[in-house]
Subunit: 359 residues, 2 copies
């Protein structure tokens, strides 16, 4: 992936909305120069901005042929179905892209390169199938090795899935760089990997080695950085993904946590038809849960709140951030709307305290 | 695996000791009738009992040929190397077994059936390679579905790896049956699966689906049981395995926890050369950590302590159990040495309270 400049068509068929097309929206926000078009036949003729609020005039088109007309030369799957398989309705689109010789980038749990039909088609056309979630070959059991890093490790943690942990981590990394810190971003999910060109999809690693895979990434990133910002996944209160979340905590050994939450959300989003509603606890309780869980390996503190205020008016968004900050006694911001500056300052303040040179 | 009566040779080369040969010791304790011999050339000529304190006169032999002389017809790998690969030194033994037409049962992370050389040898000889850790094909994201079970779910949890969580769960299951309860055991690791003939190795499931795999097992086991006893894995304080442990908690939704600990151990055993020593906290703090983590999905309570007193004299073992029980205010026993009766009674008492019929 690294080294090759692509012009992507992002597949988001029938789901090109801010909440459903997480991967597509992430690419449009952070790498719009690499996107030629978005494929969603139900919204063809509109623009990315009209559908998801980012991506400007990048066109939404009906199919691979139309995307080619916009200059696309590769296909990226821009939606992440729960369960991780390739829906039959997308297979045709993927096959058409392969037959044009396009590389296909996929963050699905089911690997395209292991699909006999698609692999054979790629072999014929010379296309490459890039599975972003393919786990590393090394099987490492984590042993808290990241505690010896001189770099300060920051992990974004959340009240639920899909509340903005990746976005907060990316914005924080940029803001830290803006303040002159050497900041490294560690991608831990398919969207972060697509944006960053590196990282490991922790949720696709066999669970014995999930923390170890993160440990390796963090150790590598920490070699030339003052601050390592690790993209969080899942939530401790989510029954499906809490193991992934704890593997991230144990593998990365953060000293700082940024608590991410979607303003107004009060229930964990589990699978459809789940019998058991899990309320999202108050922010103070969330912070305590994450700090307790971190301390099982190494003490950490919540240094700031990243609030996703999508859908709120400006004044209400400000008020929500202020309320969250007061509740926890730490800086609070919507990093997309109001910038991640306050979070970066809080992180550097902690680094100053923990790295103060002895008298 | 189920249905076929085997005579196993247990491979435990150079490591046939109580702590190193966990899988072999488990089989010798619970299924001695299925074991013909143990292979450890460094201890050939001794008996199982002399090496590990269980298994009576089952002979320890030098190689596959000698095991065949004892009536073995299958090979089971009885040691679990950290990292999960097949050491080169064992490959020869496995190949010799296959060449005799023996089935080989393996709990390694690396699947024998995917090894080209071994698979080809098995195809030639008609042997079957059974990978106990092979994850289920279904990819389920857990959604707290086990909360709706009428059966009471009990999970064994621990202060570290290898403290007796599987043993406690097996002994508790037997003790519950002895008291007339319909008790089902859910195996979650390779040794439990070898003993029980069913279950899922949660540590080998891709982490997004680890809790979901357990949820499915618990739902199935709960259909015809009053109590479902789930074998625990790892520890919340172990940096390598805590994600596995939390996936088990979130997937099984227990209402009762049995806290397992090895008397006298005060440090988590991480990989060799780990820089960061993790002390095992006091039992009260451990109990609080597990109850807090369970409550992220559903409240649970520690109903008893299972203490592994291996290596202590009888009087010291009794005293250690009594002290642990006083510390937590719950029944405490070494289930192997003193029986799991007190744990079974505590579980049934909780079931009585939670299932009391309304007036």
């Amino acid at each position: 992936m690294p080294g090759k400049k692509r012009r992507l068509a992002l597949l988001a068929e029938a789901r090109f909305t801010p909440f459903d097309a997480k991967t597509a929206v992430g690419m449009l926000r952070y790498r719009p120069d690499q996107v030629a078009a978005v494929i969603d036949s139900t919204r063809a003729g509109t623009t990315a901005f009209e559908c998801v609020g980012v991506g400007g005039a990048i066109p939404v088109v009906a199919d691979v042929g139309a995307a080619a007309g916009c200059g696309a030369d590769s296909l990226a799957i821009g939606i992440a179905p729960q369960g991780g398989g390739l829906p039959e309705s997308w297979r045709k689109t993927v096959r058409q892209a392969i037959e044009r010789g396009w590389d296909v980038l996929s963050g699905l749990h089911v690997f395209l390169a292991d699909d006999r039909e698609l692999a054979a088609a790629a072999a014929r056309s010379g296309a490459t199938l890039l599975d972003l979630r393919r786990p590393p070959a090394a099987r490492t059991v984590a042993a808290a090795r990241a505690t010896r890093l001189d770099a300060l490790v920051v992990l974004t943690v959340g009240s639920d899935c899909n509340v903005g942990k990746m976005t907060a981590a990316l914005e924080l990394t940029q803001a830290l760089a803006g303040l002159g810190a050497r900041a490294a971003f560690v991608a831990t999910g398919q969207t972060g990997i697509l944006i960053d060109g590196g990282g490991v999809a922790v949720d696709a690693v066999v669970s014995d080695f999930a923390a170890g895979a993160i440990e390796n990434e963090v150790l590598a990133a920490g070699r030339d950085a003052d601050v390592v910002v690790v993209e969080g996944q899942g939530a401790l209160h989510h029954p499906g993904y809490s193991g992934v979340t704890l593997s991230l905590l144990a593998g990365s050994c953060p000293r700082a946590l940024v608590l991410c939450h979607a303003a107004g959300r009060d229930r964990i989003r589990t699978a459809d038809g789940a019998p058991h509603e899990i309320p999202i606890p108050p922010l103070t309780e969330l912070a305590r849960a994450y700090e307790s869980a971190a301390a099982w390996v190494q003490k950490a503190e919540v240094v700031g709140v990243a609030l996703n205020t999508l859908g709120l008016e400006e004044a209400a968004a400000r008020a929500a951030c202020d309320a969250a900050g007061r509740e926890l006694g730490v800086p609070s911001t919507d990093p997309v709307r109001f910038g991640a500056g306050p979070l970066a300052e809080a992180v550097l303040a902690l680094r100053g305290r923990t790295h103060a040179s002895p008298a």
